[in-house]
Symmetry: D2
Subunit: 277 residues, 4 copies
């Protein structure tokens, strides 16, 4: 029985890496379906190889591990869907987009649960028979609220946490539990208009194009590695409110695009930049 596997490799460049990888796969009768490499100007090597064959992939992986330099990180991924949890506040459009994609088997992930710091979106989520948890932040310190979140999330052990318009800042402590696993959608063309009210800022600055940015969350607000961005044209006729309305469509499209890349194991992170193979 043949199955498809994805091998992710990154580390300092060495001569002969591609040769060694393809040699081991060839010797193990694996068929390469797709292969992409990139070497950064600073000499860092990235490679993503999709292969299939009838030998146990763990055997192939061990052989690769043995044949390749120790400072090259190797990760073997199956094409199994990722388990994810969504976090939301009150805005529905990114959440709805993901729920619809999930309901029609287009998301490439299983939404195990949705957590909201408001109860507003419960009816929407429950239409799709997914558990909704209302963990209000009211009356709680940030630490207390995040402790409650963490306890809930531990139960689900999500591979990725998607902030689908979750409007509260997460502390470095919280983020450290999910390194390179939290994805956020920011309602501006980062790094322009970092922080609050980006559409108001965009209106005041009189820009002719607005955008949205999906990025990994790290300890610096709005400064994690960018996965995807898109833009639309605006004119003086767009009020800040019009921009926000228009922006929603960009945000949900960009978040979907970013998640597709992430869930297909196509995204590497290096020095706060993404390499997408």
């Amino acid at each position: 029985m043949s199955s498809r596997h994805i091998l992710l490799m990154d580390g300092p460049d060495h001569k002969g890496l591609i040769f060694t990888v393809t040699k081991v796969l060839f010797e193990h009768q694996q068929n390469i379906i797709r292969n992409d490499e990139y070497v950064s100007p600073s000499g860092y090597f990235f490679m993503r190889t999709e292969f299939e064959g009838e030998i146990n992939p763990n055997i192939v992986f061990s052989a690769l591990r043995k044949a390749l330099p120790e400072d090259l990180r190797l990760r073997l991924k199956s094409d199994k869907k990722k388990d994810i949890v969504l976090m939301v506040t009150k805005e529905h459009y990114c959440l709805a987009e993901l729920l619809i994609r999930y309901a029609f088997d287009e998301l490439g992930a299983n939404i195990k649960a949705v957590v909201g710091n408001y109860n507003t979106l419960r009816p929407l989520v429950e239409k799709f028979n997914i558990p909704f948890y209302h963990l209000s932040h009211e009356g709680l310190s940030r630490e207390e609220h995040e402790d409650k979140l963490l306890k809930l999330l531990l139960r689900y052990q999500p591979e990725f946490l998607v902030l689908a318009k979750y409007m509260r800042i997460l502390s470095p402590g919280f983020v450290s539990h999910f390194p390179e696993k939290i994805i956020n959608i920011h309602h501006s063309f980062l790094p322009a208009f970092i922080g609050a009210n980006p559409y108001r800022q965009a209106y005041d600055r009189g820009v002719k194009i607005i955008g949205a940015t999906a990025h990994f969350v790290n300890n610096n607000l709005d400064e994690g590695p960018i996965i995807a961005q898109d833009v639309k044209r605006v004119s003086h006729r767009h009020t800040a409110a019009d921009m926000a309305t228009l922006g929603r469509d960009i945000e949900k499209a960009v978040l979907s695009e970013a998640l597709k890349l992430v869930f297909n194991d196509r995204v590497f992170i290096h020095r706060n930049r993404t390499i997408i193979l």
Copy 2:
């Protein structure tokens, strides 16, 4: 003999402004070719009317001035080409774009002269039989250099000064001689990456889209009213140098687009934003 005129009006909104304008034009047998208005959310009125007819336009203008509120600014423009001067440093691509458009009568302006703080671009300019002035900044204080520039510019009395990759910062004193008359092309999608080396900044931040911005110059560096912007997609494969190369094409296209709007008297400025009618 009929000719085409453009009337620009801006000021606080009043009831009946469009009615009054069209009434006066109608009474003077003027034909409206194109008419655009905009009222900002804060109640500021903008109107641009192209009209033609056989009566002396100054008579029409006086009648309009009399009929309209005093706090409404009126400007009458003919469709005569604007006289402009270009300022450059060493990079050729925006300059070349404008020279070619001028040579084939597509610029909507007369390039009276080109001034460079280096002599690098003289051969290109002289191919097109346009005077080139080399005013080096070397060995001069900013004030001394700008004095020399001013003296030269006074001779040409340009309606607009176009910074076609002029890489020196102009002092507020210099700028104050050309209010709303200096147009710059900035090699980033403002307000992202203000300041030096925007493509290096863009590379380091790992953005997936780069852009360029044409704007009027005021006293705050890179913060004047934006006229036009455009973008292109990049990936991790683009080095900062690749981005700069790709960016050139955006820059010259955006500058051309902005100049077309300005030279057609389509751009109003209000509260550091442009209204384009």
Copy 3:
């Protein structure tokens, strides 16, 4: 009690039309909120005026009708939401987009019912408490099927009929019941790839950009007036199936954009083209 109204005017151009319209509105103490005009190169006049005031709008309308030339068509629209019916086959994504927008009051229309020639999408529609009708075409002639559709639609008297991936061709007879009232989303950048399997055609032709087109339906398949279009880049790596997947996101975005324009009474039709004011 003041309310907002929209006046749509189109017909052969005459001198003084704008003047007359604004005069009547001024005399009836109506406040113009937004005003846009366009005169085509062939001399056809279009004007859309949003106004508000305390006088009965029918009185204003009668005065306008009396003051304006007879060959100018006038239509008065309120800002009431339009009643619409959706028609679908098996594909969910455009339907889902519209249902979500409707559920969160962002559609500018009331979805009175959804009709499918398959029963596939019933569960999705019923999540949103909207009537779903399954009118199968199987075993019926086109005429018989369309008769059943017509009977159902007559009950709802929709102002617009939206084909949200309805995959059957409608006969001229059927279309004639809904002149300028049927909106379709076509999965190509029309007029490229008219007809069946546009993504397969696009793949075979090796295009580098794919698109979608929202248009009014008239008697010529895929040739009605275009309302909105958008595109995305593709490469040789996209199979026809990948293009179809990517295309879905364009289709739903373009259909939403077109409907927003139509439901806001911003779209005129003239000589098989749309004028959008």
Copy 4:
């Protein structure tokens, strides 16, 4: 002395091709700078490898040729600039773009000559000290005219022939002398608006987006493999003439982009599609 070489390979897919290529390069102490592969859904293999090293590249090439299947086509390219000839009629903008890029060493090719069937563009070309040949078609049959062209071109032996707005149709006989070597810029988003007057056609059809297409020329007019495309938004306000003006900027940008890809040996042709690695 180390130099950079580009190896292009295409043919039916076999197991182990990448392995074999990288093995031979590794054994010859070549350093892979960039490597891209693609396998089409129909099982056709494409690979482009940039490498450098101190061994004579012909030795490396022979070793590769021996190690790889016979049905795999191999081509070795140096990074030397290509010699090209441009063909023009009366329109200047694509020509000017290429001349400027060439003058500032950004074209990646040497323009050996420009041939026009009118004499209009001679002054522009001569500004850049490039030979201009006026080969009028007047009073000649197509065959006679093409014979004269061929004689001239034989003298220059160009690697590529660029039709920079050459407005005459080339016969299959002529084209057969330059297989996969003639590049044309077409003023529409192909396959929409094939043939004459595409902007007039686009206006009449009422499209909301216009475009341009750079493609290889084969025996079917406007149907050769597409290299690059781009688009811009238009509205009802754009006349056919406005679209033509706007279109020029798309055309010259798309042609430049396509030439960059071709001159960098990044374009494969297979079944009338381009694969760009």
